[in-house]
């Protein structure tokens, strides 16, 4: 239990320091320092791309959206205020772009072609390990199932789960990103995890 508290405390301190650094870097970007923008980009590029990949499921599309996110950050550097958490701002733009993309492409794309592209993307990572053919197949099947159940969640529930699980955001920060109340976020997460528990119950 003590270990749990210490670990949580360290995580909070590290996060707080990172937040201060982000704000400081962004202030420098506002003053015209492009090096600071590169530092911010290198620090947040992977989480943003991964978040968008899990949202839209197609990595090239996710990367294009992520570039749009950083382009918008750069374009609006003059109006940045350090009072706003940088990551909240960043993920608000990312979520907004992802939800718009999902809305626009819902009727344009067939589910079949979408699955194919994702499948190709996943193939690269699972074949890196030293798994037997059978283990590899089982793992692929589990991954496919995980992706499918996340994909089946309503868009806002999915965004909330992805930020909570993979970005380790607390309820308050997710609320700021999604521009809703903390209780609304809890409700979104409870319903999402309830659905996920039911659908993934058979996994050991």
């Amino acid at each position: 239990m003590a270990q749990h508290s210490i670990a949580t405390g360290v995580r909070v301190d590290v996060a707080a320091v990172a937040l201060e650094q982000d704000a400081e870097l962004m202030v420098r970007v506002r003053e015209g320092d492009t090096q600071s923008f590169t530092l911010l980009l290198n620090r947040h590029r992977t989480p943003v791309v991964h978040f968008l990949t899990r949202m839209v499921r197609v990595q090239p599309v996710a990367e294009e959206l992520a570039q749009e996110v950083f382009l918008r950050v750069y374009k609006s550097r003059a109006s940045y205020e350090p009072s706003a958490k940088f990551t909240t701002w960043l993920f608000r733009i990312a979520t907004h772009l992802a939800l718009n993309h999902i809305r626009d492409s819902k009727n344009e794309r067939g589910q079949e072609s979408l699955d194919q592209e994702v499948g190709e993307g996943m193939l690269r990572q699972v074949s890196d390990g030293h798994l037997s053919v059978e283990q590899d197949m089982v793992r692929r099947e589990r991954l496919r199932e995980v992706r499918d159940v996340i994909q089946a969640l309503p868009d806002k529930q999915r965004a909330a789960v992805l930020m909570h699980k993979y970005e380790e955001m607390d309820y308050a920060q997710i609320a700021k990103v999604l521009e809703c109340s903390e209780s609304a976020v809890k409700s979104l997460l409870f319903r999402a995890y309830e659905a996920l528990r039911a659908r993934l119950a058979h996994m050991s």
Binding site: V49, A66, Q67, Q125, K165, Y166, L189, R197
Partner: protein, 153 residues
């Protein structure tokens, strides 16, 4: 016996992701000793947590930064008027044009009336001229030549 744990869902999620403060963690652990329902739910939540960890997207493309900087360069090389071509501004501009057009449009106003009459006069003159031209072509036999030419083609 039904579970009586307060904020059960939040406690379950926070318990599994390790974000429960020490006092609430102790409360949860003590509660679960006597509540089979919560033990099963916590186990299921742990399975979800573990399953989600398996999904790691592929690494970001090596040319991600380069492509982004190219887009930034393109953006910076744009003139101020092009930067104003931002969609919401375009929409605002279109709305303004519409509003201005509606302000200047007086129904049955004196400015538009003579123009309309002039249009009607021109149309009648054009019809007259066209009829005269047709008559003239008939007299000159041009229509026959045209028919012959079409036949050759």
């Amino acid at each position: 016996m039904a579970c009586t744990l307060e904020n059960r869902e939040e406690m379950l999620i926070d318990y599994v992701d390790g974000s429960l403060p020490a006092d609430r963690l102790a409360q949860m652990m003590s509660h679960m000793k006597g509540c089979a329902e919560c033990r099963v739910a916590a186990d299921a939540q742990l399975r979800v947590w573990t399953a989600l960890e398996e999904w790691t997207p592929a690494p970001v493309s090596a040319d991600f930064n380069r492509t982004l900087y190219q887009k930034i360069d393109v953006e910076q090389s744009k003139g101020w008027w092009q930067r104003l071509a931002w969609p919401p501004l375009g929409l605002a501009a279109a709305c303004m044009v519409l509003v201005v057009a509606m302000l200047f449009r007086v129904p049955g106003g004196p400015v538009n009336e003579p123009e309309k009459k002039a249009d009607v006069t021109i149309d009648v003159n054009q019809v007259d001229r066209t009829l005269e031209d047709i008559e003239m072509f008939k007299q000159l036999g041009v229509g026959n030549d045209v028919n012959e030419a079409e036949g050759v083609l």
